[in-house]
Structures are given as C-alpha cells and as structure tokens.
C-alpha cells in the first residue's frame, strides 16, 4: 500500500488525536480500533489486557473479530501470538501464519494469514497487547508498525490512567474505612486525628486507631507499615485487626508487640512496621505504652513539650525474638500526648533532629483543645500537605474531672467498665474511703445498668451520670431518656436491693421524658467530722 507522507501524517494524527482523551474509555478504544482497522486496511483489530495475575491476557475490545470479546478469549503470556508479543514486549509480525502458533480458535477459523502485534506499555510496565490481522498474506512496513505502536501507546495511556484512578480511589476508600470514625468518646479525654495520603502514592502504610477496652481503659495506636501500595495496606489492615483482638483480650502493650511480631513474620516475611501502642487507665491515671521502633510521642504539660523517652526497640518483623518493654507514664491531667508518623516531620535534605525540634516548638504553646493542637501541628509541619510519605497525627488530651462530675455515655454495656473507672477516681478525690469507693461504684453501676437496659433507640441512645458533694453527702445521679421498667423475672430486683443496701437513700423519678435515679450517701469521714 503506497501512501504519501501527508496521508501518513494524517493517519498518525488520527490515532494520537487529543480529542480522544475526552471520551469514556470504552468509546475511546472503540474509535481508536476502528481508525486503526481503516488506516491499515486489516480484517481484525483486538486489544487484550493483562489480568491481575500477570500471566493471562484477556480480550478487552475488538473490531472485525468482535466475537473475541464476547467469548472471553484468554491467552497465557508466552503462548500463542498475543502471548508472544507480551513476552517479547516488542512488535511481532507473522506474514505466513502457521496454525500451530495460533491459540485463539477464532483467528484460526477466520483463516488469518498475516498478523502484527505490539505491546501496551505504561511506564515500562506491560498492561496488554494490541494486534491486527489480515486474511491475505502481507508484510507490514516499518511505518505501519510504528503507527500501530502509537495507537497502542495512546490506548495504554488511557487504560493506565483509568486503572490508576480506580486503584487510587479504592485504596483511599479502603484506608479511610480502617480509621476509627467517629473517634471513641471517653470521659475526661478528648481526641483529635488527622491523616494525609501522600500526593505521590495512592496508598500508604500509616494507620491510627483508638478504642475502648473491655476493662474500661482507652487504647491508642499509631503505626507505619514499611512500603506502600496494596501490599503495605493489606498488611496494615491485618495488623490493625490482630492488634485489636489481642488488646481486647487484655494483653499488655509489650506482650502485644511480641505477639504482633510473630504474626507479622508469618503473614508477610520480609515485611516490617513501626508501632506505638498505649493504654490510658483513667482510674490509676497512668499510661502504659510500648513502642516497636516508632517515633516517641510528644508529651505536653501546660506549655512544656518534651518527647517521651521510650525504651529502644526494633520495628516489628525485623528480628525473630525482639524484647519489648512497657513504659509507665503518670497521667495526671491536664496533659496531652501527640502520636504521629514520620511523614509529619520528614523533609528532604533535613536531619531528623530538626524535624523533632520543629514538632516540639509547634506543640509547645498552651491550650488543651486537641483539634486546635492537631491543626497547629499540621500547619507548622505540613504547610503544603504530605508530599512523598503519608502522615498521621493523633492527639489525646486528658482533662481534670472537676468538682462536679458530669459525663454522658452511650447506652451500651461497654460504657459500664469505663464509667466505674471514672467514678472510682472521682469518689477517691472526694473523701470516700476505699470500701465506700467500691460500694458507691457498685450502687451507681446498678443504676447505670438500668439506664442501659431500658434505653430504646433512637431517642435514648445515651445517659448521663453526675456526681457532686452536697452538705457532706455524696450525691450521684443517673439520668436516662427511656422508661423506668419494674423489675421482671425471679432474679430481677437484685439491682434495686444492692442500690438500697449500699447507699443511704435511693430516689427514682420517672416521667414521660425519662428516669432519674439519685443515690446519696454520707461518707464515714464526714460523719465523724
């Protein structure tokens, strides 16, 4: 086929046409293939894409032999004609087809004599094959090979962009779904979290987590799986679930690290992660934490910010039997702890020390609102967002309980252990003896159990617990928005017996809008005075 250079140029423009990029992918491929078929005067054009296994090509779009797509033709890389193009990653031409080379029965049935195929590459990565076929015996010129390759590049660009977009969308959605939303509510504590995916990569390995433990303590996690992409994200997701499972069983931080190290080495040999896990016990006012090679949290008391000195320990996955230790930190309010990943402070060409110093300075000014603190840190450290690494920040602010305790809790059984811890601390601070602390905590626990049991959604999802001292009496109030129900069943009513036996008086006021139980008791100390 003799063609002048002007028509060659026109042909080239038709396959590299910028207007194609505004089309949806299917239409773009359709149009592109039809143009290729017309320009080269061939009887069949087909695009096969590499499957996720990296070993199989599947027909994606075709002209001339459209049945190919419908029949879902699949060719192994290295086998058949398309497989050979994929394996060689360059143009392949067959002018006199020996039917033994053709795996695709459709190509054989049609009696194709000549074939030309080129690879679809994005950034050196093979994503598929574009091939044309003719029923006559013909040799394709180097111009024709070049034109087909340009069409393949155009298709690869569109397909690659689509794949990347889809991958990025899925990745971000998956990562977001793994972060706790909303953050748990914990009396006397407020939490704030921020996460930025890296601009350059769809998926990072950073994660944070916050959850109530069955014991009524608060667990906080900050971790960073080494690497990126789906493998890092999948490992992150597995570690996150395993961590929660171990944590809910009451595993101490150091032991949890040891267990996760074993697990990580089994599920992803060669993978590694840094991790910080801490448990805040509001009754003992202590934080227990262990780190596996993670950066130390920033501790703020007033306007003083320092880094917690953690025992040295290797990241998870690196060695077989690392030793992890718990650090116990006194946690008297007010104080704030800032957990973060290295993406927050790493800057190209800067020593880590400078990053630490910037973080410390940004964290120093007074003010205990964790949202403000998180925003301030991010503004100071990531003014232009995360660049090459993703970044996460989790701020915990511990507040004093105050003279009058008033906490709102979710009407769930899980609130009970948490409430006991808060109550014990408050009672201790307000003149109750150790026995009185236990007895009043139990009495109030029974009132809370009632509120939890009788809470009917949606209007009664929470209840309120208040405590104050009145003329020397400790007064505790449990208020819900459900209906008070008389005890049922043979063993019911024991809660009432306990409330009455453990306090000086129990008053129940019920109405349409809810029930308030008021418990009073004069501490021995006050009676003696």
């Amino acid at each position: 086929m003799a063609r002048d250079s002007a028509s060659q140029l026109r042909d080239l423009q038709r396959v590299t046409d910028a207007a194609l990029s505004s089309l949806p992918l299917n239409q773009l491929l359709d149009t592109l293939l039809e143009r290729v078929r017309q320009i080269l005067g061939v009887d069949t054009v087909a695009i096969l894409l590499l499957e996720e296994d990296g070993r199989t090509l599947a027909a994606r779009a075709a002209k001339g032999l459209e049945e190919e797509v419908e029949r879902g033709v699949r060719i192994p890389v290295g086998g058949g004609f398309a497989g050979r193009v994929a394996a060689e990653r360059g143009p392949v031409q067959i002018t006199d087809v020996d039917h033994a080379d053709i795996l695709n029965p459709l190509l054989r049935e049609k009696g194709l004599q000549s074939l030309l195929g080129v690879p679809l590459l994005t950034e050196e990565r093979l994503i598929g094959v574009l091939h044309v076929g003719a029923l006559t015996t013909r040799a394709f010129s180097s111009d024709e090979v070049d034109l087909l390759q340009r069409a393949a590049d155009r298709a690869a660009l569109a397909i690659g962009a689509r794949l990347y977009e889809r991958q990025r969308g899925l990745a971000e959605e998956m990562q977001r779904s793994l972060f706790p939303r909303p953050l748990p509510e914990f009396p006397g504590v407020s939490l704030a979290a921020r996460y930025w995916p890296a601009a350059s990569a769809p998926l990072g390995g950073d994660w944070y987590d916050a959850f109530l433990l069955p014991t009524g303590s608060l667990g906080l996690v900050m971790g960073d799986v080494v690497g990126r992409g789906f493998r890092a994200a999948a490992l992150m997701a597995q570690l996150r679930s395993a961590l929660r499972a171990y944590a809910f069983d009451g595993t101490e931080p150091w032991e949890l690290m040891t267990k996760l190290n074993v697990l990580l080495r089994r599920i992803d040999p060669g993978g590694s992660a840094t991790l910080l896990y801490l448990v805040f016990d509001s009754e003992a006012e202590e934080v227990h934490m262990a780190s596996a090679g993670h950066l130390p949290p920033l501790l703020r008391r007033g306007s003083e910010a320092t880094f917690v000195e953690l025992p040295r320990a290797v990241p998870l996955g690196v060695i077989a039997n690392p030793v992890y230790d718990d650090l116990v930190l006194e946690a008297h309010p007010p104080m704030e702890l800032v957990l973060y990943t290295d993406g927050l402070m790493e800057r190209a060409g800067e020593a880590l020390e400078e990053g630490f110093e910037r973080l410390r300075v940004a964290g120093s000014p007074d003010g205990s609102d964790p949202e403000e603190l998180a925003d301030r840190l991010v503004g100071a450290l990531l003014p232009e967002g995360a660049a090459n690494d993703d970044a996460a920040v989790l701020v915990m602010a511990i507040h004093p309980l105050g003279e009058e305790l008033e906490v709102t809790m979710a009407a769930e059984p899980e609130s009970a252990p948490l409430l006991r811890r808060i109550l014990r601390r408050w009672l201790r601070e307000h003149g109750a003896s150790p026995d009185e602390v236990e007895e009043l905590t139990l009495a109030c626990g029974e009132a809370c159990a009632n509120a939890i049991e009788h809470a009917y959604p949606p209007e009664a999802r929470s209840f309120l617990v208040g405590a104050h001292v009145e003329n020397g009496d400790i007064v505790m109030r449990v208020q819900d928005w459900g209906q008070w129900r008389p005890p049922r069943g043979a063993h019911r009513g024991k809660g009432m017996t306990l409330m009455e036996g453990l306090t000086d008086s129990v008053a129940i006021e019920g109405g349409e809008e809810g029930t308030t139980v008021t418990l009073r008791r004069r501490p021995q100390e006050a009676t003696a005075a």
């Binding site: 009451g250 059984p413 006991r420 139990l442 626990g445 159990a449 809660g495 017996t497 306990l498 453990l502």
Partner: protein, 122 residues
C-alpha cells in the same frame, strides 16, 4: 486484667471455676456460658472461686443464682471460695446469696466438701 470469661481447672477431678477481675453486665453473659459448661453430668459439684473477683454486680449475682439452681436440680453441689474482700462479702450478704451458696474461706475446704459426696470419698 484478663477479660476472658472463666478460668476453669480441675483439682482431683473436681472442676474449679475462677472468676478473675470485674464480674459485671458486660462479662456476665460470657461467664454464664463458661460456668454452665464447666459442670458435666458426671461431676459431683463445682467450686466457684471468687478470691480474685474484684467486682460483682446484680448481673453476676443472677448468673450465680441460676447456676446454683441448675446444680441443685441435678443433685450437684456448689461450693464457693469467698475472699475476705469487703465488697464481695457485702454483695453476697445483701442479695442473700449465702442462703443457697455454701461458702468457704479456702479452696481446700471447698474441695473437701465436694470430695465427701464422691462414693468412697473421705
């Protein structure tokens, strides 16, 4: 604190169920299952060890009442080891659990009381 339900061991073939930590409405359902499973038809009784129990609310008390009734109906004995811990003793007293629960200060005493039921036992 361990949040698993019941720590079950056998001493001379007698099941000993230890309730560790806080027994409250969140743990009572799991503990109930653990306790009911702890006793087989062949057992002469069960020792309920409350020495490491730090908190016991009405949900926990109800589980113990149910357990006591089940064992009693099957002619099996329930012997509790009750600690010298004010709050637990106070709860048992207030709900009158002692009326149906034989309580001992030591594990050996509790075991001996069940051992006596065994044929050929001391």
């Amino acid at each position: 604190m361990n949040s698993s339900s019941v720590d079950l061991q056998h001493h001379d073939g007698i099941p000993v169920a230890r309730l560790v930590g806080e027994v409250d409405l969140t743990r009572a359902p799991g503990i109930r299952i653990g306790l009911l499973r702890a006793v087989t038809n062949q057992d002469h009784g069960l020792v309920l060890d409350l020495r490491d129990t730090t908190y016991l609310d009405s949900a926990g008390v109800n589980v113990i009442f149910e357990l006591a009734e089940r064992l009693s109906a099957r002619q099996q004995r329930l012997a509790a080891v009750v600690p010298d811990r004010a709050i637990i003793e106070r709860v048992l007293e207030l709900v009158n659990l002692r009326s149906i629960l034989e309580s001992h200060r030591t594990l050996d005493e509790a075991l001996a009381s069940i051992q006596r039921l065994k044929p050929g036992g001391p």
